[in-house]
């Protein structure tokens, strides 16, 4: 047993070393400017854009949280399958428009676009604050995911805290050295790895344990029918509400559309056609969730159970009869999922703080910006690491909390791109109202009507405020507005 664990550990460390080399090598291609560090000199092709989009959305949350939900909450997990494409499809129209504005005005972040249309340093600072508030829990998810995998495969010899620290020390090194180029190329390497592993495991486990996918679901339907009926169960095993299920889909779809790091990646694309093709191909990435759910469902009737639902994937792999080398590769696939999202988020959070939180108030030199971004990559990573050590929450719950905040960007961004009559006061008021309502219901979940997601409740307050304040204010200068609407 010890030899097996040692071999699995060796495979994982080899994988981490290869990832580090890919990340460091990638940075040698990019220029040493802020554009190079944040936007990859706007030179990413289809392959990298495809994986950077897929991998920044599919993360430890999908690879560990997805099976965890299928295993413990059954059909509730299907919401994850539904929302991704709904969130990405609007990018077919919006992505090229965002990229064109980035090229025209030199934007490298989402807030720069919004503040360009609605000039306000306060709005810029607010966006920076909200983005970091949403990114920290999301990075926390990724770190916990990496820690979970390493703790499980080493049989507890490397605890979650140390495992997360090792994986993210490597992420920090390549993000600090190479910026978004490292994120792009490591995501490509990790994405290919992750897809292959997920499908292999999703097909293997049901066949090995039940004799096939159909027989597995037949047995689950016989023994645990409540798991195969929507809207599934809550974390406590109680029936989930339709209000919560439906609004989780809507809030998450809006959240995907509005993730600040997706805007930043749109600025990295070499051409509009590449953005459109990335969106068209996105459903192929989404289908990988099927394999992820199959892994989780395979654990339902397994005789033993892990301590936490999120551990189900490594738990099952380690109890399969697979050779140690293959087990190591599977666990490396899960690490890929965690690190490929975590690196983009760390890089994104640091870039947003500097470009949107600092630059509008104090101009820094190109070199100063890059230095501060690197310091902030470490600071945000450290903060997320502290949260990652706290027990007692699920990966998916953390993600849903992040989406509540990000949802509030949607009315403001649509107004910036498509609504001539929107004003700065309207956008700021709407954002403040929506965020306040969202945070209130996050803190007081028992008050949510019909169990609705706090992000959707925030939007119900946000949109009327934005419309009313904008329509009552003085319209923006026509020439200024046309620069954003006629792209």
């Amino acid at each position: 047993m010890t030899d097996r664990i040692t071999l699995v550990t060796v495979v994982i460390f080899v994988y981490l070393a290869v990832t580090l080399c890919v990340g460091l090598a990638a940075g040698r291609r990019a220029s040493r400017s802020v554009q190079g560090y944040v936007a990859g000199d706007r030179d990413f092709g289809l392959l990298v854009m495809y994986f950077i989009t897929g991998a920044t959305v599919f993360s430890a949350f999908a690879f560990l949280g997805g099976p965890g939900w299928a295993y413990s909450r059954g059909a509730a997990a299907f919401y994850i399958l539904a929302y991704g494409v709904l969130g990405m499809a609007p990018w077919y129209a919006m992505g090229p428009r965002v990229a064109a504005l980035g090229r025209r005005f030199g934007f490298v972040t989402q807030a720069q676009l919004l503040v360009g249309r609605f000039p306000s340093r306060g709005l810029s600072a607010l966006m920076a604050l909200l983005t970091v508030a949403a990114f920290v829990p999301y990075v926390t998810i990724q770190m916990r995911g990496a820690g979970i995998v390493i703790e499980a495969v080493t049989d507890g010899r490397i605890p979650l805290a140390a495992g997360a620290a090792i994986a993210y020390a490597i992420v920090l090194v390549y993000v600090l050295a190479s910026g978004v180029s490292a994120v792009g190329w490591t995501n490509t390497f990790q994405g290919i790895f992750m897809l292959a592993i997920a499908w292999a495991l999703g097909i293997y486990l049901p066949n090995r344990l039940y004799g096939g996918v159909g027989p597995m679901f037949e047995q689950i339907l016989e023994a645990r029918p409540e798991l195969l009926s929507l809207p599934g169960l809550t974390g406590n095993g109680e029936p989930w509400s339709w209000g919560a299920y439906s609004t989780a889909i809507l809030a998450s779809a809006i959240g995907v559309t509005m993730w600040p790091h997706l805007f930043m990646k749109a600025y990295t694309a070499r051409s509009d056609a590449i953005i459109r093709r990335t969106v068209i191909l996105f459903p192929t990435f989404q289908l990988f969730l099927i394999s992820v759910f199959l892994i989780g469902f395979a654990g339902v009737l397994f005789p033993q159970a892990p301590d936490q639902a999120d551990f189900i994937l490594p738990f099952l792999i380690l109890r399969s009869d697979l050779p140690a080398l293959v087990v190591g590769l599977f666990c490396a696939g899960a690490l890929s999922a965690s690190m490929s999202t975590g690196d983009a988020l760390l890089h994104g959070a640091a870039s947003v703080v500097v470009e949107d939180g600092v630059q509008p108030f104090r101009r820094l030199s190109d070199r100063g910006q890059r230095l501060l971004m690197r310091i902030l990559v470490v600071a945000v990573g450290g903060l997320a690491y502290l949260f990652a050590l706290v027990e007692g929450f699920s990966l998916v719950d953390l993600l849903l909390a992040s989406y509540g905040i990000i949802c509030q960007y949607m009315p403001a961004m649509l107004a910036a791109l498509y609504w001539r009559r929107a004003t700065t006061a309207g956008v700021v008021s709407g954002l403040l109202a929506g965020s306040a309502v969202s945070v209130f219901f996050f803190l007081c979940p028992e008050l949510k009507p019909l169990g609705m997601h706090e992000g959707i409740l925030g939007l119900i307050a946000h949109i009327p405020v934005l419309l009313t304040v904008s329509l009552r204010g003085t319209p923006q200068d026509d020439e200024h507005v046309s620069g954003y609407l006629r792209v």
Binding site: A75, F78, L81, A82, G84, V85, L86, A89, P90, Y92, A93, M94, P96, R97, A100, G212, V213, G214, M216, F217, E218, L221, P225, L228, S229, L230, P231, W242, G243, Y245, S246, I249, L250, A253, D272, R276, R277, V279, I280, L281, P283, T284, Q286, L287, I290, F293, V487
Partner: protein, 77 residues
């Protein structure tokens, strides 16, 4: 069909997709059996909408490419 028609189809498709996977429409597709390719029916339902999105967006892109060949660019999406 023209680019404009395909744009409308794409928007309509994704709107219907959103409605189809939430309450109350999803309650009409809430029995796991009969299984579809071994998957519970609700899971196959969501998967079918995801695949449909791939087809609709691909056709929209073809229409866009045709329109771009026929006339100079006049905007995105």
């Amino acid at each position: 069909m023209s680019l404009r028609t395909w744009r409308r189809i794409a928007w309509a498709y994704h709107l219907i997709f959103a409605v189809a996977v939430i309450w109350p429409v999803q309650t009409l597709v809430n029995r796991p059996d009969p299984f579809v390719l071994g998957l519970p029916r609700q899971m196959a339902w969501a998967t079918a909408w995801v695949l449909g999105s791939l087809v609709v967006l691909w056709r929209l892109d073809l229409a866009r490419a045709r329109a771009m060949r026929a006339a100079p660019p006049e905007g995105d999406g």
